[in-house]
Structure formats: structure tokens, C-alpha cells
């Protein structure tokens, strides 16, 4: 039910002019609910950012979500599969 709940909240945020991206754990639920932007992650329920205590891995997931927000070519509903990239694990200083 969590996937639906965050999708419905995301929709309200977008109605009020806040851009959103929602991590989703169940594709079949997201395809019914249709949050505006969804990142499907291949992790168990309870582990949306994958590994507890592993900041590098968590940053990899967050970076994938942020890239969806930045892609101006996407149109709703946006469904993106998480593609882990081994070398994008930590935040990089932006100049």
C-alpha cells in the first residue's frame, strides 16, 4: 500500500507545483496508480534504498532518482528502471 500512498501524495505535490520523483518497489502497482515520475528499484519491501548502513549504495539510488527529475525530455507517467552503475556511488562536488 505504501507504493500507492506515495504516488497519491506525489500527485498532490505536483498539483501544487512541486516536482516529484517517487521510488517504487512494485511495478504492477505503479502501473495502476501512475505517479508522475517513478524509479523502480529491485529491492525487497522495507529496503527502498537497498543496503542499511551503506551510504555509497544509497547515494547510487538517490542519484538515479535525481536524474529523472533533471531529464526535461520525459513526460508522465515516467517509469524508469534502476540501473546500478558501480562508479556512481557517492556525491560529487559540484563546481
Amino acid at each position: 500500500m505504501c507504493n500507492q500512498t506515495v504516488g497519491l501524495v506525489a500527485a498532490e505535490l505536483e498539483r501544487q507545483r512541486i516536482s516529484t520523483v517517487a521510488i517504487q518497489l512494485l511495478r504492477e502497482v505503479a502501473e495502476h496508480v501512475r505517479p508522475p515520475r517513478a524509479l523502480f528499484v529491485p529491492f525487497r519491501h522495507g529496503y527502498p534504498l537497498d543496503v542499511p548502513g551503506n551510504p555509497k549504495r544509497q547515494h547510487t539510488v538517490l542519484e538515479a532518482a535525481l536524474r529523472i527529475l533533471e531529464d526535461s525530455n520525459l513526460r508522465p507517467p515516467v517509469f524508469v528502471e534502476f540501473q546500478p552503475e558501480p562508479d556512481t556511488g557517492g556525491p560529487t562536488k559540484t563546481e
Partner: protein, 160 residues
């Protein structure tokens, strides 16, 4: 990907027959400036509360649609998991709440300039809401208004 097969047979039947709400039309706010200039808020459905906040009401029929405000400077170790669902393993959240409420991670993103600012408050829902009418009519709009007041540009939503 999480899978419905992770759940008990009873829950699987419920999920297969449940009338999922459909967002139609899909609202859309394009990102109009660089993330490095954006204010970001987290919205988690992990049911986290602060020690001085009431827990989510696990007995509420259809699920508790309320939310809690979590300040940006929270010590994640102080967050209490009051999510009512027994359908997933809570031990990862107990070990590291960042796995479902990544406040330490977004602070790090601010420090390196990947995002502009971490908002001063974030929102915690308890996502096990089978009857989301009040969520859709009342609490989600109220939550959004708070983040609009804060001039939040982007929100990252994290289910469990």
C-alpha cells in the same frame, strides 16, 4: 524489484483484488532550474515519528492518513518506526533509518552542491492506507501546502 510474491498468500490475494486508485489526469511540474538551486524535501511512508510525537494509529480502519513533520536536523537514530504492516521486514529500517528516510544522504548532497538546500522539515506518513479518501481530500493537500509555504522545489518520495 519488490514482488507481490514476497507477501503471505492472504496479502497476495488482497493486493490482486484491491481497487488501486488511478491518478488521472497525471499532474506534472517540470523542473525549471538546476537541482543545485533547488530546495528538496523528503516524504517517507515508513511510519517514522519523533519520540515526542504520537505514533500512527494502527487500529484506524482503512489506515491512518495523518502525517508527522520531521525536522531537517533530526538524528535518524532517534526516529521510531510505527508502521503497522507486518508484511515486510522492519530490521533494515531499525538498523539504518536512512534506508527509508535518507536525511543523512540528502544533507550530504547539499554539502557537495548536488542540490541547493535541504528543506527545514520533511514529512512522514504511514503508508499502509487501504482507504485513501481522506489522504487524497485532506492530508496530502495539507502536506503539500506546508512544502509550498517552505518554497520547496522538489520532493523525493520513499515507500517501504
Amino acid at each position: 524489484m519488490g514482488a507481490i510474491s514476497e507477501f503471505s498468500l492472504l496479502v497476495q490475494v488482497f493486493l490482486k483484488t484491491y481497487r488501486w486508485r488511478r491518478i488521472d489526469p497525471i499532474p506534472w511540474k517540470p523542473l525549471l532550474k538546476p537541482l543545485a538551486q533547488c530546495r528538496l524535501a523528503l516524504v517517507s511512508s515508513a511510519g517514522f515519528v519523533l519520540p515526542n510525537q504520537p505514533p500512527f494509529d494502527e487500529a484506524k480502519r482503512g489506515g491512518d492518513p495523518s502525517f508527522r513533520e520531521i525536522p531537517s536536523n533530526v538524528d535518524v537514530a532517534s526516529l521510531l518506526d510505527t508502521h503497522r504492516s507486518e508484511s515486510f521486514n522492519h530490521s533494515g529500517m531499525a538498523q539504518d533509518p536512512n534506508v527509508a528516510f535518507p536525511i543523512d544522504r540528502v544533507r550530504e548532497l547539499e554539502m557537495v552542491g548536488r542540490i541547493g538546500r535541504v528543506n527545514t522539515r520533511h514529512l512522514s506518513f504511514m503508508g499502509s492506507i487501504t482507504a485513501p479518501g481522506r489522504l487524497m481530500r485532506e492530508t496530502a493537500p495539507e502536506a503539500a501546502r506546508l512544502l509550498v509555504e517552505d518554497e520547496v522545489d522538489v520532493a523525493l518520495l520513499v515507500p517501504v
